[in-house]
C-alpha cells in the first residue's frame, strides 16, 4: 500500500475524522493579498466538513468593516463573501475585543455577526484547536 502512496501510510477510517481548524486573520484587506487568500482557503475547507473557526485579530478586524467600496482602486470587493460563509456551514466567527477597540470599531461596524472574545478567551479558543492556520 505504502508504495502506491509514495510511502505515506493511508488511514482507512480518515473519512470520519473531524478536526478543529482555526484560521487566524491578522492583516488588513487590499494592502496585501493575505485576507483574500485566507478566504479562498476557508471556502475550500468547507468542502471537507471540518469544524472550522475564523479568528479576526489585529488589523484582520478591518476585513469585516462595513461599507467597503473598491471601485476607485480597481480591486475586487470581497467583503460580501463573509456574509455567504453561513451557507457553507461556517458559522464560528470570532473577533478579538482589544484589537477591535484599538481601531475605534464596535461589533455594529462589522458586516457579519461575530462573537467578541477578549485576549484570554481567545487564548483558550486557540488552545482547543487541532490545526491553526495563520494569514
Amino acid at each position: 500500500m505504502s508504495e502506491s502512496t509514495g510511502g505515506i501510510e493511508m488511514e482507512e477510517d480518515m473519512s470520519g475524522t473531524v478536526k478543529k481548524f482555526a484560521f487566524i486573520n491578522r492583516k488588513a484587506p487590499y494592502g496585501t493579498i493575505y485576507a483574500l487568500e485566507s478566504l479562498e482557503v476557508v471556502l475550500i475547507s468547507a468542502a471537507f466538513d471540518q469544524d472550522v473557526s475564523l479568528v479576526f485579530a489585529d488589523d484582520g478586524v478591518y476585513q469585516l468593516k462595513k461599507g467597503q467600496a473598491t471601485k476607485a482602486v480597481g480591486m475586487k470587493n470581497f467583503s460580501p463573501t463573509y456574509r455567504a460563509l453561513e451557507g457553507y456551514d461556517i458559522e464560528k466567527l470570532y473577533v478579538e475585543k482589544e484589537s477591535m477597540e484599538a481601531r475605534g470599531l464596535t461589533a455594529d461596524d462589522l458586516i457579519v455577526d461575530v462573537e467578541v472574545l477578549d485576549a484570554a478567551e481567545m487564548a483558550a479558543l486557540l488552545e482547543e484547536q487541532d490545526v491553526v492556520l495563520s494569514f
Binding site: A28, D59, K66, A72, V73, G104
Partner: protein
C-alpha cells in the same frame, strides 16, 4: 519634502518613523493600509493630531473608500485622489517612501 506611508500604524512602525522624522512644514501622505491612521478611534489618533500641528497630512480617498473607512475620517485631513497624489509628488522637492 513629501513622506509617503503605506502600512497600517498598528502593524508596522513606518508611520511612527515618518511622524518622528518629518520636519515641520513637510507633507505626509497616507495611502493603502496607512489610511487607517486618519480614522477616528484608531490608537494613532493622538499621535496624528500632534503631527497635524506642524505638517500637512493627506490621505488617498480611494483607499479609504475601498476599506469602508470613508465616513470616519478625522477632521482637518486633506483627502486627495490619484491626480492629487501626482500633484503632491510634482510640487515636492523630494519624496521619501516609508516601505
Amino acid at each position: 519634502m513629501l513622506h509617503i506611508v503605506n502600512k497600517s500604524p498598528l502593524e508596522r512602525n513606518a508611520f511612527d518613523g515618518a511622524l518622528r522624522m518629518a520636519k515641520p512644514g513637510s507633507t505626509i501622505l497616507l495611502i493603502e493600509d496607512a489610511v487607517y491612521a486618519v480614522t477616528k478611534g484608531n490608537k494613532a489618533e493622538g499621535q496624528l493630531k500632534e503631527a497635524m500641528k506642524n505638517c500637512s497630512v493627506c490621505a488617498l480617498w480611494p483607499d479609504l473608500e475601498a476599506r469602508g473607512m470613508q465616513d470616519t475620517v478625522i477632521d482637518g485631513i486633506k483627502q486627495v485622489d490619484y491626480n492629487g497624489f501626482v500633484d503632491l509628488v510634482a510640487e515636492s522637492k523630494s519624496v521619501m517612501s516609508w516601505l
